[in-house]
């Protein structure tokens, strides 16, 4: 008999969580503590030396956070994960393991606006350079590869326009270049797309969005696919070289196929410090239990709203990969057959002003800068999330002045359509 492979919904409820061995508590306890006692001096030394599994201090690990980590690793089909304070912290910690000053990352031009800022400004100050490529043109990734390239970064479903990325094609470029492919899977969640099955080596999430799902907690996570050989060309000294901070341990040699997650924890999180609060981990874990149910409803509602908008006289275009005529429909059917996600954009015939009016006339949609909430959300990217980009970059990243972004919630779709209809007519 081989062990049964549980289905996605079973993993969403159970992975990582078992009854607490000391109290029997069935829900995951919130271990709201900074630190954990050692048995004796040798136990402490073993933990600090990475020789034993266990808890030391919540900046390095926490049992509530660990349940979240194992759960997301299981849902993504990864070997291990590390939870951090936000999606942005996840991106920072990942790249700190891979890049040194003067190194480069190739990133898809269509990314969450905040990520474009993070890469362009904050990371530049670390001497990490970014080369932008067009996710609709795989050759542009290939052309951007140089001897300094250390990673490729894409979103599975890209914010804000909900476009679908050809992960396998870009994974092939990464493999040929000998660098890992990092996929931000925030907008798809593993319910819709499992990037590791398509060749991703590292998956990151903003847990703040669909995984947590209730708009109440910030969080981020890094999932190690356990697929990349970090020691092959000594390009990744954080993983392949003896680490002075741990008496000369080599992380990959010691931790095998979950070495990247360990490097992120003991070299990244430990030293940079963006730890996730155990309370947030608990909130996000509770959210994940209903991910399959919510995500399907998000997608079904989004499709209905997109269909409605596509026939509306005030609307000039709808970008929703779930619509049959959409440019990304074929990729959606390949990568995300259960649904095209719930974040998409549409364009108003009335331009910038119509966008501003729509947002102010809506009564059920909330005007705010987030996605992936139970509630339906609306934003005008040109004046908010993407406002720091220049006009050309706005258009290139799918945030032109007439564009409005929706994140469709799990309310009744008839009510969402009625609200949009009245606001478009007002």
């Amino acid at each position: 008999m081989t062990d049964r492979l549980p289905g996605f919904s079973t993993l969403a409820v159970h992975a990582g969580a078992q009854p607490d061995p000391t109290t029997g508590a069935r829900a995951t306890p919130i271990y709201q503590t900074t630190s954990f006692v050692f048995n004796d001096a040798d136990h402490a030394a073993s933990l600090f030396g990475l020789q034993a599994f266990g808890n030391i201090y919540t900046r390095i690990g926490n049992p509530t956070n660990a349940v979240l980590e194992e759960r997301v690793a299981a849902l993504e089909g990864g070997t291990a994960a590390l939870a951090v304070a936000s999606g942005h912290a996840a991106q920072l910690v990942v790249l700190q393991q891979l890049l040194r000053p003067g190194d480069e990352i190739i990133a898809a031009r269509k990314l969450y606006g905040g990520s474009i800022n993070q890469f362009t400004h904050a990371f530049k100050a670390f001497g990490w350079n970014v080369a932008w490529a067009d996710p609709d043109d795989v050759a542009s990734f290939e052309q951007a590869v140089t001897p300094h390239t250390k990673a490729i970064f894409i979103e599975s479903i890209a914010n804000p326009a909900g476009s679908i990325t050809d992960i396998e094609a870009i994974a092939a470029v990464a493999r040929k270049a000998g660098v890992p492919l990092i996929v931000d899977n925030t907008l798809a969640s593993p319910y819709l797309i499992k990037p590791i099955d398509h060749g991703a080596d590292i998956v990151v999430h903003s847990l703040t969005k669909f995984l947590g799902g209730h708009g109440n907690s910030l969080g981020g996570i890094i999932v190690d696919a356990g697929t990349f050989d970090w020691s092959k060309d000594n390009k990744y000294p954080m993983l392949s070289e003896p680490r002075p901070e741990y008496h000369g341990i080599r992380i990959q040699e010691t931790f095998g196929n979950f070495a990247f997650a360990i490097a992120c924890r003991v070299l990244g999180l430990r030293d940079l410090g963006p730890a996730l609060s155990p309370f947030n981990a608990f909130m996000i874990l509770t959210g994940i239990e209903t991910l399959p149910l919510r995500m399907q409803k998000h997608c079904d509602n989004a499709k209905a709203v997109a269909e409605f908008l596509s026939t509306h006289p005030a609307v000039s275009a709808v970008n929703y990969a779930g619509l049959p005529g959409d440019k990304y429909n074929a990729l959606q059917r390949k990568y995300a057959p259960k649904g095209a996600g719930a974040v998409f954009t549409f364009s108003l015939k009335g331009g910038y002003d119509a966008g501003v009016n729509l947002v102010s006339n809506l009564k059920l949609f909330s005007h705010l800068a987030n996605v992936g909430d139970t509630r339906s959300l609306v934003i005008h990217p040109a004046s908010t999330t993407h406002s720091q980009l220049d006009d050309a970059a706005k258009v290139k990243s799918g945030a032109a002045p007439e564009v409005v972004r929706l994140s469709i919630g799990i309310e009744d779709k008839e009510d969402l359509i009625a609200d949009l209809d009245q606001a478009l007519r007002a």
Binding site: D3, P6, P21, E70, G256, N257
Partner: protein
């Protein structure tokens, strides 16, 4: 016997039944993976014997190194081979000359020799290849979950209360869990190309 994937109960019964483990290729250097595994297993109550001809005269955690399996003065249940795939066969051949025979041949993470495995199995031994007993112990006890590692197990049963602070027991019932197929495939491709 399928050596690409092992049933959790197969591994659990090995780790529950063996008591004496000879580690071939054990290193006294405290940042080497073999040292980590040796220490971890010793702390979980296994009677560990370090085997390494280069270190005879020294001791690992108080246990004196021996040069070869033949130099061990007591029956051995399991031989954990911390050597590359190309060095496995002679160790297995030596193991099969022991009396009584060991019960288990275990080849470390990264090491695999199917011919050696067949030989040991023909003599009635159990074989595990390309796994680390420390990782497997941590996974099946769920201790490794504290590091955010996918233990590939689920359980609705309360595990035994930890002994000595954070040590969890292997005696836990579990159901299969989240797979790591992509990593398994990558490991297989790597062993096939090297």
């Amino acid at each position: 016997m399928n050596h690409d994937a092992y049933d959790d109960n197969y591994i659990r019964s090995i780790l529950n039944n063996v008591k004496t483990i000879a580690m071939v290729g054990a290193s006294p250097v405290n940042v080497r993976p073999s040292y980590f595994a040796f220490k971890y297993l010793a702390q979980r109550g296994y009677d560990m014997i370090p085997v390494n001809p280069g270190h005879v005269g020294k001791a690992l955690m108080g246990k004196p190194f021996v040069a070869s399996l033949a130099d061990i003065d007591r029956p051995i249940d399991m031989i954990d081979i911390f050597r590359n795939s190309s060095h496995i066969m002679p160790v297995v051949e030596e193991a099969l000359k022991l009396s009584p025979l060991p019960k288990v041949i275990w080849m470390q993470l990264g090491a695999r020799d199917d011919a050696a495995a067949e030989k040991a199995e023909a003599a009635g031994l159990k074989v595990v290849m390309n796994r680390c007993p420390k990782i497997e112990y941590g996974r099946l006890s769920s201790e490794i979950s504290w590091m955010g590692v996918n233990s590939r197990t689920l359980s609705s049963k309360r595990a035994p209360i930890p002994t000595q602070g954070m040590r969890l027991s292997l005696n836990r019932t579990s159901f299969g869990g989240g797979q790591t197929a992509a990593s398994d495939r990558a490991a297989k491709n790597k062993t096939e190309t090297t």
